[in-house]
């Protein structure tokens, strides 16, 4: 467990951090996502509200990183900065060394409020097609992408339904399918599996791991559920107290491929869980 939350010059620091890492994870020599001393203040003057003060961590290519932290600490805010939806107040977030200033083309975001991020007036398929229009794809490719993405989330049968006709879990899968059809290199998901039942949750978690495997995507997931974070992640970034700061980055060393029943009953799993849990339980 190395705490990787301290680099000042990310690219240089990067290598040394990598050198300390013995594990054989899919990785690249340049960091994919790089968050350095990021700060974010909403408003200004009297009603200014500093949500993030100084946040530093990196995500390697092909890695799954989970972010856990108490409600309202600023997880969604962080993701919005990464997605270029909110400008950082200071510090920087970069993709492949390029500072993020607007929505980066190689990234897709699955929002926390999945039911508010789907267009209720479009069918499932049209929701998937909407962001692809301006890519000027051929009709065949469009069709292939949609069908592939829907099949991946197991919703091939629902392509002509409206989002509001689906259950919460299905809507969530549509949002994920939309991201998949967009073929991003980096997928960011904000509490994607909250309030779906255990079974669906397991399926979606496994889907997430499968996507990473099949497309070699870099995935960043915010979650409340510590078990989920440990199960999914290569590393878990634990955020604490307001303004948000990194308490610790926990390396998860669980064997691949992971499996809901066997992985979760490993003693190593319990140990990692307890570590994250005690970080969170401890008064910040």
């Amino acid at each position: 467990m190395s705490n990787r939350a301290a680099p000042t010059l990310p690219t240089r620091n990067r290598k040394s951090t990598m050198a300390q890492q013995p594990e054989t994870r899919v990785s690249a020599s340049t960091p994919r996502l790089d968050v350095a001393h990021l700060a974010k203040t909403y408003g200004s003057g009297g009603n200014a509200r500093t949500v993030i003060e100084d946040l530093t961590f990196t995500v390697d290519a092909g890695e799954v990183v989970c972010i856990v932290g108490p409600s309202g600490v600023g997880k969604t805010t962080l993701l919005k900065c990464l997605a270029g939806l909110q400008p950082a107040t200071s510090g920087r977030a970069a993709i492949d060394g390029r500072t993020i200033s607007g929505p980066p083309p190689e990234m897709a975001l699955v929002f926390q409020d999945y039911n508010r991020s789907l267009m209720p007036w479009l069918t499932v398929r049209k929701n998937l097609v909407l962001p692809l229009r301006h890519l000027k794809l051929s009709a065949a490719e469009l069709k292939e992408r949609c069908e592939g993405a829907l099949a991946a989330v197991g919703l091939s049968h629902a392509d002509n339904q409206y989002p509001w006709q689906l259950s919460g879990g299905m809507q969530q899968r549509v949002a994920i399918a939309r991201a998949l059809a967009y073929r991003p290199e980096i997928l960011i998901m904000d509490e994607p599996f909250a309030s779906v039942d255990a079974q669906t949750r397991f399926d979606l978690e496994d889907l997430c791991l499968k996507i990473r495997r099949d497309f070699n995507m870099t995935i960043l997931v915010v979650t409340h559920d510590i078990d989920e974070a440990v199960y999914l992640a290569d590393r878990v970034v634990v955020l604490g107290s307001r303004p948000a700061r990194v308490l610790k980055v926990v390396d998860v060393d669980l064997p691949a491929p992971r499996d809901q029943i066997t992985t979760r009953s490993l003693p190593e799993f319990a140990r990692q869980r307890t570590e994250v849990l005690s970080l969170i339980k401890r008064p910040a």
């Binding site: 997605a83 267009m119 909407l130």
Partner: protein
Amino acid sequence: MRNITMRNWVIGVAAPVLLLVAWWFLSADSTDPFFPPLQTILVRFQELWLFEHFQSDVLLSLGNLFFGFVIAAGAGIVLGFITALVAPVRWMLDLLIHFLRGIPPVALVPIFISLIGFGTQMRVTSIALAALFPTMIATVDGIRSVSNDLMDVSRVYRLTRKERVLKVLLPAATPQIFSGLQVSLQVAFIVMIASEMLGSSQGIGAMTLLAQQSFMTADMWAGILLLGVIGFLVNILFSLLRRKVLSWYIGSRRLARAS
């Protein structure tokens, strides 16, 4: 379950029928000059509107209503978009619009008469101008209340400006635009009648007022009945259109309620 639905249907149909029957019989021997027998009213209705004045008055009124409303709807939506999306325009027009909206549209009719005259143009202009504001204001409100999440989605997936306006803002605002259109339709109908009552001697409104002023109460009742039926039918047509365009919205609302 089935029984209850059946019973509701029976009640729903029987109640208005009973009401009409009661009117028919209670008014049958009426000598009250203002409440003539329903039979007389219906006879006059048929005589007046179905043949004699259908083309000259009924079609004329409906034509004015239609053109006025269509102009108002189109202009209202376009102006609403411009106002909502261009902040300086919005700031500039905000107070003016709310002021103009505060004026009873019927009070503008005398002004239009003095400015434009009393012909068909005046009536269509009056209807269009008066009916413009509800749609325009609803459009502005609708666009401004489109959820930030949807706009964030559009940005993350890098939709073009045109796509954002036509594919996201417009559909997202349609529920509110339609509420605005509904109000506009009501206003258009009212101004149609008022412009006829104040301006000319043609149209259903004019005929009805004339009947009142010459104490031909059966004719007046026939006019009221016709206007009521038109108001009702126009509203139904509009509802059908709304149901078609907003099926997604109505469906999602129904589901949300049911849960």
